[in-house]
């Protein structure tokens, strides 16, 4: 049984590609509303649930937030692959920053990992809104992932980095 997001009914929040743009505990620039620091956000859920959810080949979706959870679980998997072989926090940080430089595709574009999961954007404006949200949520996820993948003394947490070898939903990461 996969872990599902608790963000089931999010009224009054902007939407794009069938997704609510859920709040983030973040001051990174982007379209997401700012959440209180003492609340759990979708990034917390993705990291907390990652080591359980990454084992699943199928993911029954119960809410639109689960789609974001799937996207982030995949992103964490990609990020851990980049961190594989980075023996210090500094090297890991450099690798994750370089990952952040890469193009972020939205539904309908080549390279988007889950064709059919999200409705296609109906306009260029909606596509850019979703792209900016994905960029923001990826950056926030990267920062928090570095905090769990490396110990305070800068050495890797082998327990976390071992999950780089898992394939989420059998998607091959280039």
């Amino acid at each position: 049984m996969v872990y599902h997001s608790s963000f089931v009914n999010e009224d009054g929040v902007s939407r794009a590609c069938g997704c609510s743009l859920l709040p983030l505990k973040s001051h990174i620039k982007g379209p997401a509303p700012v959440s209180d620091q003492d609340r759990t956000d979708i990034v917390d859920e993705a990291i907390t649930f990652f080591r359980a959810n990454v084992f699943f080949r199928n993911f029954d979706i119960k809410s639109p937030a689960d789609k974001l959870l799937i996207y982030l679980t995949f992103y964490i998997n990609v990020a851990l692959k980049r961190l594989e072989g980075c023996r210090t926090l500094a090297e890991g940080t450099k690798a994750i920053i370089n990952l952040g430089l890469e193009k972020v595709p939205v539904p309908g574009e080549s390279g988007f990992p889950f064709p059919g999961l999200f409705p296609l954007p109906q306009s260029h404006k909606e596509a850019e809104l979703f792209r900016n949200y994905l960029k923001q949520i990826r950056e926030e996820t990267s920062g928090r992932l570095l905090s769990v993948a490396y110990r305070p003394n800068g050495t890797p947490n082998k327990w976390w980095l071992a999950f780089a070898k898992r394939k989420f939903m059998n998607i091959i990461i280039p």
Partner: protein, 218 residues
């Protein structure tokens, strides 16, 4: 690698510091001059991030300085939050021959204050002082801006190796002094917080133990 490992083991502190500023002001050459005593005339724009190390002795402590370099160009900028995370110091670099780079210092300082820590040591650096004949920003202007914003200030030339070590050393020394001060405050507060009446008895025991030790020695 053995030497590097030895250095790692011997270091008392690892300090992360970042360089920021417009593209082309000389951030990468400042770092390569400081870390490797090299200057590249054919410098290309930085893509993504790089970091370099140099070991420095400050007040009998061995400090491993980890200096980060990033793109000034917007299209190569990425993950500002991870770049700044854990940084104790920053060098805010402008080019004295290009006024626009000095005008943009305010924008960079704003980003620094948004993502950097409260106690971050910031040095304003006016680079390319060797090109005085093309100067567009007077030294006094940089100095006044730094004083207004409570930053350190230095004009440098990475080309001629003027004031480069001095600028980095000033930043690293200030970081060291802040860390030491905080460490001392923690100790004092810790001691004060650990003095309920029960502990006084323990202290008395320690005094007794000391006397006994003296007795044994004599």
């Amino acid at each position: 690698m053995a030497v590097a490992d030895a250095f790692d083991e011997q270091c008392d502190y690892l300090f992360k510091a970042v360089l920021i500023g417009d593209s082309g002001v000389g951030k990468s050459n400042l770092i390569s001059r400081f870390a490797k005593d090299e200057f590249r005339l054919d410098s290309k724009p930085t893509i993504g991030v790089e970091f370099a190390y140099r070991n420095i002795k400050v007040r009998d402590k061995l400090i491993k300085a980890q200096i980060w370099d990033t793109a000034g160009q917007e299209r190569f900028r990425a993950i500002t939050s991870s770049y700044y995370r854990g940084a104790l110091g920053a060098m805010l670099v402008y080019d004295i021959t290009k006024r626009a780079t000095f005008v943009n210092v305010g924008k960079w300082l704003h980003e620094l204050r948004e993502f950097g820590g409260e106690d971050m040591v910031v040095v304003l650096v006016g680079n390319k002082s060797d090109l005085d004949q093309s100067r567009q920003v007077e030294r006094e202007e940089g100095k006044v801006f730094a004083e207004t914003e409570e930053l350190c200030f230095m004009e440098t030339s990475a080309l001629q190796n003027l004031n480069v070590d001095e600028a980095f050393l000033e930043m690293i020394t200030k970081i060291h002094d802040i860390i030491s001060q905080k460490s001392l405050e923690t100790k004092m507060n810790g001691t004060a917080l650990n003095l309920p009446s029960g502990k006084e008895i323990h202290i008395a025991d320690e005094v007794t133990a000391t006397k006994q030790a003296k007795y044994c020695c004599s």
